[in-house]
């Protein structure tokens, strides 16, 4: 805490003002579309089509939200089912992705074993391949496995995102001191224990970041080619169906986009406030 106070104190007042106003300016650019989206969500339908468009809402109304929930309530599958699907996929998918990519990243970063370089290069290369082209082949494989029309078709491929692995590997390589691992090994800790008790706490900022990405990705998952059963489809898919209902649904669409933004933002704020400055090397006395 002392260091923090001093760092702030070190800079001149003018410098602070300059940085603040710069951030404010950029912040405003980024917030404007968001403000517009929120204000549109409260616009009555007739106000939505005014030309030129008004930035702020004149007569705020909650109609859009009620029409959204009305539309969701009329759907063939209950709204809560879509919500359950999305939450389920987001939570399980994120947890699996973080654990599996960290598990794989640890030996790649900290142990040179036969073939580790090859595995790593393969993974980086796979990042660059588009999933569009493999779509057909993917479908064939998933159907052979019998995963079509089940969560597995979304979850299992989602577990193995290469970017997460790459991030974790890079992080472990630069932040986990070899000497901590060595002393743990001398004290008789097994690798499994070292991984969970030493490596993971040190790279906490990395996996909290990974949670943000991964959750955002799963949460925004729309309809895809592997799921046909209406009971298994996601909230995002349901909402995009409602939105595509045309002009009359424009208000509901604006309301939906605002509501759907909330969970990723919440996850972001929660994870960010959980990151305390880690003391990667604080245990070390050289």
């Amino acid at each position: 805490m002392r260091a923090r106070g001093r760092r702030l104190f070190n800079r001149s007042l003018g410098g602070n003002m300059l940085i603040y106003s710069f951030l404010m300016l950029l912040g405003v650019i980024m917030v404007l579309p968001m403000v517009y989206a929120v204000s549109s969500a409260f616009k009555p339908l007739n106000e939505m089509w005014i030309f030129p468009p008004r930035f702020f809402v004149q007569n705020p109304t909650g109609d859009n939200f009620s029409s959204l929930f009305g539309a969701l309530g009329e759907s063939y599958v209950p709204f809560t089912r879509y919500l359950f699907n999305t939450v389920c996929i987001s939570v399980i998918g994120t947890a699996g992705h973080v654990v599996i990519s960290s598990l794989c990243a640890y030996p790649l970063a900290k142990h040179r074993f036969i073939g580790s370089k090859v595995i790593f290069h393969m993974i980086v290369m796979s990042l660059m391949f588009t999933s569009v082209a493999t779509g057909l082949a993917n479908y064939l494989i998933l159907s052979k496995l019998g995963w079509i029309d089940s969560y597995l078709a979304i979850l299992i491929p989602g577990f193995g995102g290469s970017l997460g692995l790459y991030l974790m590997k890079q992080f472990m390589e630069s932040n986990v001191p070899d000497s901590i691992l060595e002393s743990a090994r001398i004290d008789g800790a097994a690798e499994w224990r070292i991984f969970w008790r030493i490596v993971m706490p040190i790279v906490k900022p990395a996996w909290l970041t990974l949670i943000i990405f991964s959750f955002n990705g799963f949460w925004s998952m729309g309809g895809n080619a592997y799921i046909y059963n209406e009971n298994l489809k996601t909230l995002n898919y349901a909402i995009s169906q409602i939105v595509s209902g045309g002009l009359a649904r424009a208000g509901a669409g604006a309301a939906a986009s605002v509501l759907m933004m909330i969970p990723p933002i919440l996850i972001f704020v929660i994870t960010q406030s959980n990151i305390v400055e880690t003391m990667a090397s604080s245990g070390m006395k050289e």
Partner: protein, 309 residues
Amino acid sequence: MKSKGSRKLLNYRGRRNLMGYFFCAPFILGFVLLFATAFAKSFGFSFNEVITDMNGYSLEYKGLEYYHYALFVDPEFVRAIVGSISGLAKDLIIILIYSLFIAVLLNNPMPGKTLFRAIFFLPVITTIGVIATLELRDSMTQAAMDTTSQSVSMLTGAEDLDLFSYIESLLSAIKISPSMTNVIFEAVNGIYHIITHSGIQIIIFFAGLQSISPSIYEAAMVEGCGRWEQFWKITLPLVSPLIMVNVVWTVVDYFINPTNEVMQKISSRFGSGEYSLSSAMSFINFAVMGVFVAVLLFVVNKFIFYENK
């Protein structure tokens, strides 16, 4: 791995290898099963014509025909690839510098830090998240009903258009010439593009900055090191491994983004059932991108500092 028998059979190095494979097993299993197989299959498709029928599909060998078509016959494909590479080269450096800059600024202790961070995180949601997918799907219906340009205003991603037209009418109201406003808009549009594409990079740099121990800065300050020097001598070297991640992410994000011209060509071919051609195009795109990334990583790797090596 832990049983006594294997401990006797394997020496230290052997156990170490086994441990590595054990930790990587879930990932590699999925990788081979889902990615490598699909990859190999599509590679096969790119040399064959895929004929679908009631019982599935059959293949007819065509050799390099599809590659030849993509590279020499299709008038737009090569141009699209060249265009995307030159566009990327321009953006990449600006995005990296901008995102590191913002991350360093936002990492400073100051009131309202979390709020600022959340604001800078917003583009991640709007560009790769929910809004983007909603908007993408909607753009199809829009094309049909887009008689009034107003229907664009429905979802956030397209919002800037309205915002611009709003500002434009404002500027013309105070008698600023259209050519002048065009210059302003191009600049603003460029900024907006960079800002919306740097969200993830900023967060990755955050993670790097947060894991730098404050005691290093304290020691530097005791030695009389100013903030400028601190940045170049401490912050930059310690976050440099993440520059690699960000380079890879930026390139991949750019090339694989559905709005990329090359990707649009590939998906439209795929959508119209020309699986072989779209595979061949993907592999060409993949090869080009692979070479691009390899060169970049080779260069960037020279400047990276690994603390524990």
